[in-house]
Symmetry: C2
């Protein structure tokens, strides 16, 4: 069923252009746009994962404006969307919180724009989620994508969007929107 | 066919919360994210429409960094995506440019998250575009949406995304991504 879905955006550990592991910078739009998309598709929680205290401070300032400041008064929908948003230091903390909420570890879905072997199709994953009572956690990377160590702990490796196109460099914000729409669509 | 598709993001004329007509502020992400999405789905040109010279200056600064500055060197994909981007003062200028390129006025598609009568479904519009030789221009609003005067000059009024959900307040960046994916999907 589609009522135990979680999304996480990974800012650490992330691949840099040269293949090394880094923390990427958080943008306002990673918080807002993805919260609004997740809320629209009835995702239970959207987690942003960053191990950097300075990045965490920026996010908390944004949240305070929308949840407690004038932002929420001016635009109550944005406030409502941000109520499903949480920030975590590490992916392990996300998994632990879902396990606490749901009484079991979520099935983890890895996503990437790169071509890989043994990927699950959107249609197959949609059916898996629909026929299942397990919670699912869908992971999205920033920068040059998530490292192998995250793929190895994942239960599903989701096919790329438009892998046969000449150009497939969607923003992560667009990738989240398209992925949720392909998996959930108009199901409410 | 899907090879004469154009997208425009309208920053003027736009409805304000109180129903009056305003120009909305342009963000970096309106330029970047939507250019990358449009390029991924093989859109011919993505036009941003704003009548404010100050907003235009901001956009030109961003473009200069990515097209001529260090940005394009560091991230050539982003440069490639921005090559389909254009800025215009008025919607009429967009229509005129497409008419010049294609030898005919485009079929104009209006989009909105609000419920309206007589909307065309995604499936119907997809078939219309597929079976047609005409150019199509898909319009997206910012702020509280596009005014009636734009709906009146449109040929198609596209159904909202997740109109039956409890919350449908997608960012315009997410709405563009989902709309193009529903209309084009994996067709290359």
């Amino acid at each position: 069923m589609f009522d135990k879905l979680y999304v996480a955006l990974i800012h650490y550990p992330i691949l840099k252009k040269d293949g090394s592991i880094v923390s990427t910078a958080v943008t306002n739009f990673d918080v807002h746009d993805i919260s609004r998309t997740c809320k629209t598709y009835n995702v239970k929680n959207y987690f942003l994962v960053t191990n950097l205290p300075a990045q965490r401070k920026i996010v908390e300032k944004v949240l305070d404006y929308w949840l407690n400041g004038y932002g929420g008064e001016f635009n109550p929908n944005r406030k409502e969307a941000l109520e499903i948003f949480k920030i975590k230091n590490y992916l392990e903390d996300v998994i632990e919180e879902i396990e606490k909420n749901e009484g079991e570890r979520p099935k983890i879905v890895f996503t990437s724009a790169k071509a890989r072997n043994n990927v699950v199709s959107f249609e197959e994953l949609k059916n898996q989620i629909k026929d299942s009572d397990h919670p699912f956690l869908i992971l999205f990377g920033t920068g040059w994508g998530m490292p192998e160590e995250i793929r190895e702990i994942s239960d599903y490796d989701l096919e790329p969007i438009r892998a046969n196109g000449e150009f497939n460099h969607l923003s992560v914000r667009a990738a989240v929107a398209i992925t949720l729409d392909r998996l959930i669509g108009e199901i409410v």
